[in-house]
Assembly symmetry: C2
Homo-oligomer: 637 residues x 2
């Protein structure tokens, strides 16, 4: 309206701003927004790497210099990176609210909320059954003993005619039957044959809970499940208290072999589980005694230590376990503080280094039901890898160390409130921007934050491909301390602990070894069955990295193979999910055993080629850059 626009200029309208603005042709959308007074976040400093500045071009002509981080669907919908997109005509641009960007960037690739399996019906699919039975009281005409009276009623009610009971349970039976006037609720586990009695209680008893437990070398996770609805009603996760006795399974095994080390480790993991069990029970407002079953997953060393089985042979060639398929046990026998006669089902494993966490993980991925060739990578303290489909399964394990779980890293932590979960570094100033779980001050780095940080440091030249610091940079962020060079992400003022949060050379070495072990593992596994990684249909990633694992950055550091992002899916803790499914559903439980039997285990330590592959992968992203074309491209932008 009477205002003049320069020649070769274009009109830009932002949906969040009342007035259109004029810019010269070739202006970046980001600069245009700034001119209009609109703040668009550019955590990576406008280098087109973080994807957080995505906007939607509603109409008009633009040129995208980079489409990193945008999927085909994003492009079809008109998304463009504000920092990388040039205005080449009059355009209308909408700026999504930041949380919408976050959601778009992460939800596809992170763990979905736990969903109750479709069609779940406790009465039909549960391993745990509960029946209400009413008996005629004994009389001079019917002097049947208490136990037989109960069994007869149970047979009439639900066809069960044998039931294993312990002496303790038989001792309590008579009083329970009489106190409840011969009408009781009977809970039993049908996983074994004959089924095991868990409890006899008042017929009014309705609550029935279960635990899905994942014992990681570093992290123990407990889910409290309402067995009637199938819903997960509370979750807890914390470090495995054993961690003070060694960070990886090998040091734990060595510790277990000394004096009472095994018993000490058993007590520590029990404390870890029992503490979290109390926490979830308090949170949900239930009594631990209503928990009638715990389904436990974990690597073979962890399950051995939990059960007090000697783990020594796991460590020594030829690396065998004491038992891969533990029997169904009693909570009191194991030491879990749930119903004392609750059952403890430790899921079956395959080998010393491919445990129940992996069989449960494979179950939870559903890969056994798919014809697609799937690569499943579980990144924990050990990296376990499974390749296969409905037809075949091969597996191997490699020792990654706990770096991705935040342990073995100076300021590492689990993916809890206060963890830095994503970092961007400005390519010019080398100033970082970061995102903290739960907002507020930072406390340390979780796995996804470390992956993100290392990728950014590499791409912005803070470290070179060997992880060596570039000490010529003019920034107070890179400095030398007693233990060598480090990069400060968060100054003391913004940290909860009041100290600078930095990543050190040692931390980076640990992360490189971890990612190299995993990369070498799946490469060799694919080689062993003659499958080209490029022909893998899906890559499913399990592990407790944190909520917002970033595929791009995981590829950039060479942790994941360089392939189209749409083939990746992050599943979170697949082990506890598999335990959850096995807890709920007897067919799922049978499937885990079937998976354990079906897997072919490749022993990497028997193979010199592992060492070679590992060494080659100890670089960012890899010594062989031809394996990482998109990263190579990003390095040259």
């Amino acid at each position: 309206m009477g205002r003049e626009f320069p020649v070769a200029g274009h009109v830009v309208r932002f949906d969040t701003h009342p007035e259109p603005i004029a810019v010269p042709a070739g202006t970046l959308i980001g600069d245009a927004a700034r001119q209009a007074g609109i703040e668009i976040r550019q955590p990576c400093g406008g280098q087109g790497r973080c994807g957080r500045c995505a906007v939607r071009v509603e109409s008009g002509s633009v040129r995208r210099r980079s489409i990193l981080r945008l999927s085909k669907a994003d492009l079809d919908a008109g998304y463009a990176l504000a920092c990388q997109t040039l205005i080449e005509g009059d355009v209308i641009v909408s700026v999504p609210p930041p949380e919408q960007i976050e959601r778009r960037m992460t939800t596809e690739h992170t763990a979905p909320e736990v969903e109750v399996p479709a069609g779940y019906n406790a009465a039909y699919v549960q391993t745990i059954q509960r029946a209400t039975v009413e008996m005629s009281p004994p009389s001079m005409d019917d002097q049947t003993d208490d136990w037989q009276r109960l069994l007869t009623a149970l047979r009439v009610e639900c066809g069960v005619d044998r039931l294993n009971a312990s002496l303790d349970q038989l001792r309590d039976l008579g009083a329970t039957l009489r106190d409840n006037e011969w009408k009781v609720s009977v809970t039993f586990d049908t996983t074994c044959e004959p089924p095991c009695l868990i409890s006899v209680g008042p017929a009014t008893e309705t609550a029935m809970h279960g635990l899905a437990v994942d014992i990681g070398t570093t992290t123990v996770t407990v889910w409290l499940v309402d067995l009637l609805s199938g819903k997960v009603i509370a979750q807890a996760s914390d470090y495995n208290k054993q961690i003070a006795r060694g960070e990886d399974v090998i040091s734990r095994i060595i510790y277990a072999g000394k004096n009472d080390g095994g018993e000490e480790l058993r007590t520590l993991v029990l404390e870890s589980i029992n503490t979290q069990t109390r926490a979830v029970c308090e949170h949900a407002g239930i009594e631990p005694a209503t928990i009638v079953k715990a389904t436990v997953s974990g690597n073979s060393t962890m399950t051995h230590l939990l059960l007090g089985l000697p783990p020594q042979s796991i460590r020594l060639e030829p690396f065998v376990t004491a038992i891969n398929h533990p029997p169904l046990l009693c909570a009191a026998e194991v030491g879990l503080e749930i119903h004392p006669h609750g059952r403890v089902d430790v899921l079956p494993g395959v080998a010393s280094y491919v445990g129940a966490d992996i069989t449960a993980g494979v179950l939870s991925t559903g890969m056994r039901k798919s014809d697609e060739v799937t690569l499943f990578i579980d990144v924990g303290t050990n990296g376990e890898i499974v390749l296969g489909s409905s037809e075949w399964l091969v597996t191997c394990a490699c020792s990654a160390g706990p770096a991705f779980e935040g342990a073995g890293v100076l300021h590492g932590m689990r993916a809890d409130r206060g963890a830095i979960e994503e970092v961007w570094i400005d390519g010019d100033t080398h100033e970082p921007t970061f995102q903290v779980i739960g907002g507020g001050k930072a406390r340390g780095f979780c796995g996804s934050g470390l992956i993100s940080l290392v990728a950014e440091m590499f791409l912005t030249g803070v470290v070179d491909k060997s992880g060596h610091f570039n000490q010529t940079l003019v920034t107070p962020r890179v400095r030398i301390r007693r233990n060598g060079p480090e990069y400060v992400v968060c100054w003391a003022d913004d940290s909860v602990t009041g100290e600078d949060l930095a990543i050190t050379r040692t931390d980076i070495d640990n992360l490189l070894r971890a990612k190299a072990a995993i990369y070498a593992g799946f490469s060799l596994l694919a080689d062993s069955v003659g499958v080209d990684l490029a022909s893998v249909d899906r890559v499913l990633i399990g592990g407790a990295f944190g909520k917002y694992i970033n595929v791009e950055k995981a590829i950039e550091i060479g942790l994941l193979p360089d392939m189209d992002w749409s083939r990746f899916q992050f599943l979170g803790n697949t082990s506890v999910k598999g335990a959850y499914l096995s807890l709920l559903d007897r067919e799922a439980r049978a499937a885990v055993a079937q998976i354990a039997s079906a897997m072919t285990y490749l022993e990497l330590s028997a193979d010199n080629s592992f060492y070679d592959a590992f060494t080659s992968a100890l670089f960012l992203p890899h010594t062989d850059l031809s394996r990482f074309p998109t990263v190579t491209a990003a390095m040259t932008t």
Copy 2:
């Protein structure tokens, strides 16, 4: 030779004497022997009641005034009672040595030595199986876990492919396999399905023992069995230490209901069994840990107390047990000090007052394999009675009290060394003669001694049919003491304890009540199924009366029905024998369960007629003398 013989005199030659003697016609053989200087024992004072003076008339004519105690076979062989047989011609008489008489008098009617069942072969009939298995050690080509490796070897060796093991056992497995270089001996129990692992040990391990245990209310009996040969290698028997907490099951049940009474009784019976187990092991020179199974019999109250099951409902109408068929248990769980994973098989019972002691007893009698109608009477603190054949079985119980086990009687004791086991009283002098187990000084009376004593006192008029003392007798043996009248059998000089051993009026009342309860029991049981006692083919008597139970005297006091002696058989402790058979042979074990199911239980307490029958039987031998024709005859001689 030149010697003259008086007219109407006869020549008598004794085989033990060089010279013939001449006696007048009508001389008793006993008097002739005395004349020849030959000592023939006449413990009953020559009244023809004890049978100990039996001699054999090789040739010549005699007249037997009484043939009591002599069987048809005895008579056919020429036996005659020296005190009752008149010489009526020239005779040749042989005098058997006393021990030969004892054997003839007792062996037919007392417990035979324990015989290993014919055709016993541990490998085929045992519930316990032991296999030696050799495995290939694990290698990089075979990383099978320890437990599966053992199971696979076991399947190859003996077709067993599932085995239940406890966590403890799995914890020890790896070290055992490696210490024994993958060649081990595996012991398991096949009574349950799947079988239970008992032990894994060196392949050189050969000894394998079992226990047969009978827990009586008064007496606990333990047999140590070599499971390979099937032989009983040591026996022990002693009072149940619970006896200090009540003499019968009812007082025990009441005691168990007070504070920690149940736990105290459990501990006491465990101590009883464990003490005897140590004793038999020491005697046989074996380690208790080589005992891999204990098969336990006992009445229902005893098995409940052993297992810590509350016995209260046994005592209260409608008299039901907690459990009649206990599951197979683990020794450590029960508290038996044998191999900690040894199995404890508590045999099945029928009802509150017909327990495993009776099902085991019926098994040991073999009556289920016979078409004859058999009456089986087990005389313990409770009297349990079974009537039946291969086709049918009925049973009942009556409370006899512990008198026949030597408890509840002033100088009562178990049938051990020093026990007076048989008594004869001279009908004229009322002086007693008695026989002591093991010889030497006397300590007290065992069950058979008491039966014998009461019968003699009755027949010689020391007491009347109500058990009242005849205080007019001129003998120092009958006297009054603080607690009333008593009869002294053994003066202090001949007693180990240095005190007179007498039987009191209270003792006699207890014995009368005990025998009346048993007599009433089997009479009513026979009535209930319309069987006339006279038509019963066999009467089998179990119980720990002592070694030389005397049928005649048991009939004389009215404990047993008055019928031909040849129909009676004394079997000793049938309960421990049944446990022994069930321990050895899985078919026998199955038969016990089948017997428990087949028995029809008659509840006497539901029946007023019991009280009437009991009251009528509270006399010697009974109010209705027509039921005891031979006793009536003896009373009039």
